[in-house]
Symmetry: D5
Subunit: 111 residues, 10 copies
């Protein structure tokens, strides 16, 4: 689903927005089993802010998608940057343990 935005109410000021979604789930392309994790988005908006309801539906689209952890985080970052052109953005995916091993991925724009 398409990400929507709204006009930043204070574009003249640098400020931070932090959004946390602990109910992220996608599918491992190798095993076909579900992955679970928390996605955290931290950004300084420029002219546009991310609309939360469309973000929720955007994240829901991963529910039955086969995709690796690294691609999840980098793709969300790319899509959000494309949608709202933030001054700075960081996306973190903190995934639950598989085989006794836990993985986090953190990507930033600009790198």
């Amino acid at each position: 689903m398409a990400l929507e935005t709204f006009s930043n109410p204070r574009p003249e000021r640098d400020y931070d927005i932090v959004i946390e979604s602990p109910e992220f789930t996608s599918v491992c392309p190798k095993t076909g089993l579900p992955d679970f994790g928390t996605i955290t988005i931290r950004y300084v908006p420029d002219q546009l802010c991310i609309e939360l309801k469309s973000l929720k539906y955007y994240l829901l689209d991963y529910r039955n998608k086969g995709i690796f952890y690294e691609a999840v985080v980098n793709t969300i970052l790319d899509d959000l940057v494309a949608a709202c052109a933030p001054r700075r953005m960081e996306v973190t995916g903190a995934f639950t343990a598989r085989g006794g091993i836990t993985t986090n991925v953190v990507a930033r724009h600009p790198a």
Copy 2:
């Protein structure tokens, strides 16, 4: 309600005051449903300090006001800066989950 101030007892020294109000509530302008959150104010006073009782009543005025998260935090920052002209101030709003998604907003003066 009007924010009140009192004279900073040590204007010759830079020091920090941190005020946390975990009982903030306002109304979502889109759904008409209440929002809840914790407002944290961190500042270095110049000539004036914020009087706590008037701050409490000032925050109570948001109880039945329709306003988005980003505007809550930026407006509180603007009003407090106007009232006490601090050397530095940061306002954080940590709002409770909606649709499984949690949002924080942090604004600073000077930016």
Copy 3:
């Protein structure tokens, strides 16, 4: 009560001493009701260290004194600096909630 000091056993080395007193209480000058809080003192001694027992009695002297939060922290900092002339010192007062609002005050020497 007078603050006492003893000779710093290692004046040739910069090191930190952190003292936490979670049983601080004073009286609000406006309402006459008691305030409660934790006082934390963090310093690098020069020639003198603060003697703990005299510090305990010094803090006890606030028990029935009417004084605001900002003055508590700045006065403790002033008195301790006068007593031991530290290289650096920071005093924090973390006071319990009043009217649903919590306040911390942090002052440093040199500012």
Copy 4:
């Protein structure tokens, strides 16, 4: 077992991968008794990412190996750097208490 890698899906961007394995165990070469700990690997991939399943089997190979804490952490760092040539990597071993004493070892590449 050999560490495997896969192509970094976003080599043009610096991003972090953090992998935590709380089920690490090896053997103390002095006493012959097992050691237990959590291994955390934090890195910025260049062209290659570490494949998680091969990492799991690689760490399992320590289960019956006699090796000191310092060597565990430095060897894992060396092997992982050799396998994936990361831009930056940090390996931490947080080992459980022995004789009432807990030890952590942290090594970084480049140093």
Copy 5:
């Protein structure tokens, strides 16, 4: 008891070793009553690492020794620096409350 050392297995790399001993006890020289605390040692070894068993016995030697907090931490730092000549070292003593007041002491080499 004498502190023992062993050869650093990776002297060509700067890395951290953190050792925590939560079962430290000594005696207050003023009251004759026992003091309790956690000693944390964080260092970058040069040619030598501290051997853990000898460290344990070294710390046990404080059990019936009358010594103030500041001297405990500075003496442990001096002895360990003398024994292993580390590139950097920090010793922290976090002592339990006495008279409702808690004290931490932190010393570093080089200062």
Copy 6:
């Protein structure tokens, strides 16, 4: 707003439903200031279960109502019992601190 119910899908079995609403707020009839708390409802349904959305709107009706803690909890219990005639029900209100004092109220049906 009216509480709604739906048919218990397993009336032949005694089972527990526990509902927690941490965003409850009402108004103190004495001071006119808002109260905040968490309402927890624990019940064994008979023929009817409480519909959650109507419960949410029912609890929202207290937002601007002047009512004491004891009456809040007993009234919610009465209204829920009237709406769904449960086999057993317990309502707890855990209210935030006022004047440094915290209050919980717990009522049960049948008493």
Copy 7:
């Protein structure tokens, strides 16, 4: 998917098995949005124990199924009782917040 069982290795002794699955997800039949929760199964086996891998696949089958909380818990209990005829069993579903309200459901066999 079918639940599988294996022979209880100690049928002559009453003992407890507790299985927790924090990655449960299903779909709300009213809104079409996903629900998330933790399913806990506590039972005393008779002749048969639940095989964990088949339980995992059984729970995965709820991922795209529209079903209410009360039915989730009672259906899992019914299916598990049918599969392994335990001496006693309790199933708990602890679901994440929706509209600021959290729901747990607990069912037992025999009731």
Copy 8:
């Protein structure tokens, strides 16, 4: 100060009221030094409930009173029972550490 009461709004139902005051302080009659603790009152009201503001002032009266822990808890229980004649009441005092030793006292009516 005198404890005040108000009419129990639901005398026909047994229900619990739990009041916690973490800011209790009195004076040790032996040393003259202040004691600190949390007083918790749990009761089933009969015809009368304890009014919170008068309870707060009642507890404040201990601030400069010399009294042992056991007497604090038993006296508060006696005074509250005399004031409101509850069906059941339990008073707990959880006092902070002195000389490394922590004390709780719990008294109940009827015993």
Copy 9:
């Protein structure tokens, strides 16, 4: 290795001994991969107490043994009961997550 015992120093009194070993590991007979968990033993000794060092070596013997969770707990209980004939004993195995599912097993003697 053989479990050793020593004479109960107070056989005329029923008292509890609780032993927790968080570093248990065995091997899954199906996958050949290691399992990890915490074993807790709670018992009332009769004439004999379990000697801790021999218990440690006894538990170490599971390190490379292929055995299911249910058998681990029931076998430890059987072996300990055979060794020390306690008045009552309970053994709990709390195993770490596999495939997102956590399992505990609890067995008691007499059942």
Copy 10:
């Protein structure tokens, strides 16, 4: 040192006193190494209460005494029962880990 007592101020009422001493240390008779733990004493006084300062000195006497965990707890219970003849008493020793294994001992009077 001798345990002292004082007259129970409310012998006509059964009430609980809970004393926790987290700074207990003794010596293992087998290894000569120190043991550490928390001693918790829970009792209903009859005519006498335990005086805290003498209890503190009584517990200090174990500092250089060689004694096993089971004997520590049973001896403390015996000595306290002999000193104050309580209606009921329970002594718990929660000792820190040795060889990765933690032990608690709990004894009660009357058994």
